[in-house]
């Protein structure tokens, strides 16, 4: 397709009466095919799944800080001694000390009443909880389920759908000047398919009579995930099915975005006039389309192994709890890792590229500057995507893979840090000489840049194969993932919400509370995730239900407790956001302008909120790139894409395009904001 969209199609569309007839409630708000409604559906659902994922994270953190079996502390012993107790008397008193702490509120509800050691020793049994009775303390199987589901929920049900589903849907057609997605029905189908995945993944908590869900980690390495055992029962099966279905939704979505971006751009909107949010969505969709089927195939093989007697991943002679596994033989354990990471490495970029796009747009708008190095930004995103397919082996340095491959993957992985660095430098370049306003959206974008640096740099430690020997599967990895995914992607998501909220809901969020939300989030997330680097350097392994039993982990108890409390405060800070979000939705200051931030891209050209069909009348025509901020030839410090510069601003014609002047249905720019 050439650079212009098929205008006649739009005309027909409009003529068919878009925006002029009312749809029945169910068609309009539930089984909708309108990309904006679908986008908001994703947004609201993801806020819910985010809370579930967050709660699971707090359970994981609580368990790490306070595993069962806490011994009397030095002070407690001293105290008893000072009362003159010694020998058997002292031992008897010590045995009565109970330092175990059940998870607040939920602990006893889920795992039974917590009794004093005295009563337990006397053979008393408390009331059972929803998931059996382990004296109110989280059992190891639950811990495994909690971290597995925390990661799965955050990846498959929060970050990917939030970035591609919510922002992709809501923003892309508007930035393209399209009346809707290329395949509106497929879009709705994709959403409802995703809802099925959500339900199935959540159901995995409840299907197992033993009360255990999927507990083999989000990476689900066989044979642990492959052989049906009490620890990998029906929950694990549902997990595989849920991931396949979620992937199917991703595939539908990505095809839709690619088709829309290639075919439905407004007249004049060439690829290199697209805002970076849309570019990121484009590249992400390509990644998704190529990578996700690979994940689905891996999951299918795993399911076959589990339930149909195949043995893709099971070698001969496996012995589980004293018995030979009947269908084992001829399979390769490491095969799974190759297939899984072939998807999952690109998947980590699926989770960051859209956030990078959002942040780029936010930084440009709020510093009134053109993006520094627009094309290098596009090229580096493409490079990240391309290289992303040849680095998967960096997750497998210690897996027994051929060491020569290790060298290869080390070099390719180190190289992938380069485009990330280029992006950071360009963001700094964009800030340089700007007119920076610290709105909540901008604060989160700046937070993204400053914290993504940490995640990117810690990647270099792990990319270094010899040093990765030491830090692989330790908390250093956990620090890395959270610096890129929480302080990166999640901050990008918040930034996007604050930025587009007025367009989405025709009301403004509260700025002051937005800033409070930012600062609390920023402080506590560093409190949670930074010490993970330190305990990782101490060799603290990830996925450990308890540090008790290892001398070399004992010194980290204090840091673990600190991180856990930061995590709790981080979680509580998010209620400020929720209150602000829902409060503003209902009572926020009404948006008085269609373009309150004086931004250039097309989503700001239409009514607020945008009507069904996005523009009443024909779609706007695009005259120039999206980052014409502070152009000296213009009176104002911005030049919307839908307006030829010379007509609106009366500046010199030097920078004006030769395009004809058309009435566009866009609103003329309001006067300069009083920031």
């Amino acid at each position: 397709m050439s650079t212009t969209a098929p205008a006649p199609a739009h005309a027909d569309h409009a003529a068919a009466g878009h925006g002029h007839h009312e749809l029945p409630f169910l068609r309009k708000w539930v089984f909708s095919t309108d990309h904006k409604v679908i986008g908001l559906q994703y947004l609201f659902c993801c806020l819910f799944t985010l809370m579930v994922g967050g709660l699971l994270a707090l359970m994981v953190r609580w368990q790490i800080a306070y595993p069962a079996g806490a011994k009397p502390t030095e002070e407690q012993v001293q105290e008893l001694r000072s009362r003159g107790l010694t020998g058997a008397e002292l031992d008897a008193e010590l045995a009565k000390i109970d330092n175990d702490r059940p998870f607040p509120i939920l602990g006893e509800l889920l795992w039974g009443e917590h009794l004093e050691p005295e009563l337990v020793n006397a053979g008393e049994v408390g009331e059972a909880g929803v998931f059996g009775n382990s004296n109110g303390m989280m059992p190891a199987e639950w811990y495994n389920v909690a971290f597995t589901m925390h990661a799965s929920v955050m990846i498959f049900l929060v970050i990917i759908p939030m970035l591609t589903g919510a922002f992709g849907n809501w923003v892309i057609p508007l930035q393209l000047g399209a009346k809707d997605m290329a395949f509106p029905f497929l879009n709705g189908l994709s959403f409802w398919t995703w809802i099925c995945a959500v339900l199935i993944l959540f159901a995995s908590f409840f299907v197992d009579p033993a009360g255990i869900g999927a507990g083999a980690g989000w990476t689900s390495y066989p044979p642990l995930s492959d052989v049906v055992t009490p620890t990998a029962g029906p929950g694990q099966t549902l997990w595989c099915i849920g991931v396949i279905i979620g992937g199917t939704s991703s595939i539908m979505g990505s095809m839709n975005y690619i088709t829309t971006i290639v075919n439905l751009r407004a007249p004049g909107l060439s690829l290199f006039r697209m805002p970076l949010t849309t570019w990121a969505a484009f590249i992400t969709s390509i990644l998704q389309l190529f990578a996700t089927p690979v994940l689905s195939s891996a999951m299918a093989m795993l399911l076959f192994d589990r339930h149909m007697g195949t043995s893709f991943f099971l070698p001969e002679g496996l012995i589980f709890t004293g018995e030979t596994v009947p269908n084992a033989g001829g399979g390769q354990v490491i095969l799974w890792q190759h297939i899984f990471w072939f998807y999952s490495h690109p998947a980590v970029y699926i989770m960051i590229l859209p956030a990078m796009g959002i942040v780029s747009d936010v930084i440009a708008v709020w510093s009134r500057k053109p993006i520094f190095g627009y094309r290098p930004m596009v090229y580096s995103m493409s490079a990240i995507a391309g290289l992303g397919f040849v680095v998967w082996g960096h997750h497998m340095f210690q897996s027994g893979m051929n060491p020569v491959l290790g060298t290869t993957f080390m070099i390719s992985t180190i190289m992938i840090a380069l485009p990330s660095a280029v992006k950071v430098f360009n963001w700094l370049g964009t800030l340089w000489g700007g007119q920076i306003t610290f709105s909540p959206a901008m604060l989160f974008a700046l937070g993204f840049v400053s914290m993504f640096v940490i995640g990117g740099l810690s990647g270099i430690y792990m990319a270094n194969a010899p040093f990765d020997i030491f830090i692989h599967d330790t908390y250093f990895i956990v620090a890395h993932i959270h610096y890129v995914l929480f302080t990166g992607s999640v901050m990008g998501i918040f930034s996007g919400i604050y930025h587009w909220f007025p367009k989405m809901f025709a009301r403004h969020m509260n700025d002051a509370w937005g800033k409070v939300h930012f600062w609390l989030t920023f402080i506590f997330m560093n409190g949670v995730f930074f010490p993970m680097h330190i305990i990782g350097l101490g060799g603290y392994p990830r996925r450990y239900a308890s540090f008790r039993g290892y001398d070399f982990l004992a010194p980290y108890e204090g840091m673990n407790v600190f991180m856990t409390w930061c995590a709790i405060l981080l979680g509580l800070s998010q209620f400020i956001f929720l209150a602000n979000f829902f409060g503003s939705l209902l009572f926020g200051k009404k948006a008085t302008s269609d373009n309150p931030w004086h931004a250039n891209s097309l989503e700001w050209s239409t009514q607020t909120p945008p009507p069904h069909g996005n523009w009443i009348g024909p779609v706007p025509t695009v005259y120039h790139g999206p980052y014409e901020y502070s152009n000296p030839n213009c009176k104002e410090d911005y030049a919307p894409q839908w307006m030829p510069m010379q007509t609106i601003y009366g500046g010199s014609t030097a920078a004006a395009p030769a395009a004809p002047i058309v009435a566009t249905g866009g609103t003329p720019p309001p006067p300069h904001p009083a920031h």
């Binding site: 495994n144 390495y221 496996l318 897996s399 180190i414 194969a465 010899p466 030491f470 540090f547 010194p555």
Partner: protein, 281 residues
């Protein structure tokens, strides 16, 4: 003699890498230090520039933002310079990687003074020693659970090895994947079912207590004030680093590094007993 832990044990390593005792540990840690300084400089630089810009370019109606779409030469510079640094880092690391993992490398040990086989299972390590005949798979082999006992490599006060004591571990698993993680040796290797992997290491220890107290760890014996190393039967912890089920965090093994003579005596006793048992069958 009373056994006293030096006061700085554990806490001393809390904020940094633990001490290392293998011959390649130093190379690994050197790489870490290089990366640490490179990334620290980058990190501090980027954050300072960003903070500076945030203060300097705060919104000010008296000023107009600079209108620029970028700079070709800057792009080239900040692509080429990091690229050179990164490639150099990569190239510098390949040698260490090969020494540790690649049997075809010239620095990979040609000879192993000790070979053991470890079969991991949920949730224990079964270590089989070759016994008197130094061959695995014979009657005088013996198996210990969760104890990896090896001779150490004596080094003199200058830190040079006086004899070689390379240990080879043939590593596999009978059920799920586990991972042999010996923090103080900078060793980690997955134990993969259906595949017999190889790991090697050596445990270097001084033949006399060094002044730098480099080896203060484990069950060493110290003088009563906890300052002077008197005798040391060191034992280090080995952990499982790959999620293997409910008991994952309980798969603890002890690594004991003892003088060759002591090790021979221990091995001989165990081996003879195993042989007698086999004969009795």
């Amino acid at each position: 003699m009373q056994q006293v832990r030096p006061p700085e044990f554990g806490e001393a390593w809390k904020w940094w890498l633990p001490p290392h005792y293998s011959s390649f540990g130093d190379e690994v840690d050197t790489l870490f230090h290089w990366i640490f300084w490179i990334t620290m400089v980058t990190f501090v630089g980027v954050e300072l520039v960003m903070l500076y810009f945030c203060f300097k370019y705060k919104r000010n109606p008296a000023r107009k933002a600079t209108y620029t779409h970028g700079s070709h030469s800057l792009e080239v510079a900040w692509t080429i310079i990091p690229a050179v640094i990164l490639v150099a880092l990569g190239v510098a690391s390949t040698k260490t990687w090969a020494t540790i993992k690649n049997p075809t490398d010239s620095d990979y040990p040609q000879e192993f003074q000790t070979t053991v086989k470890i079969v991991a299972q949920q949730f224990a390590w079964n270590v089989t020693y070759a016994g008197d005949d130094k061959t695995l798979g014979t009657d005088d082999d013996f198996t210990e659970t969760n104890i990896l006992n090896v001779p150490f490599e004596p080094i003199d006060a200058e830190g040079n090895a006086t004899t070689e004591e390379n240990v080879r571990v043939m590593l596999t698993s009978q059920d799920v994947i586990h991972s042999l993680f010996i923090p103080v040796l900078r060793v980690k290797q997955d134990a993969v079912p259906g595949y017999l992997g190889n790991v090697w290491f050596d445990v270097q220890r001084m033949t006399s207590p060094g002044p730098d107290k480099k080896h203060l760890t484990g069950d060493s014996r110290y003088s009563e004030d906890g300052r002077t190393l008197i005798d040391w039967e060191e034992s280090y912890e080995i952990a499982c680093a790959e999620l293997c089920g409910l008991g994952h965090s309980q798969m603890r093994m002890q690594l004991k590094a003892v003088p060759r003579a002591d090790w021979e005596a221990w091995s001989h006793t165990k081996s003879a007993a195993a042989k007698a048992r086999a004969a009795a069958k």
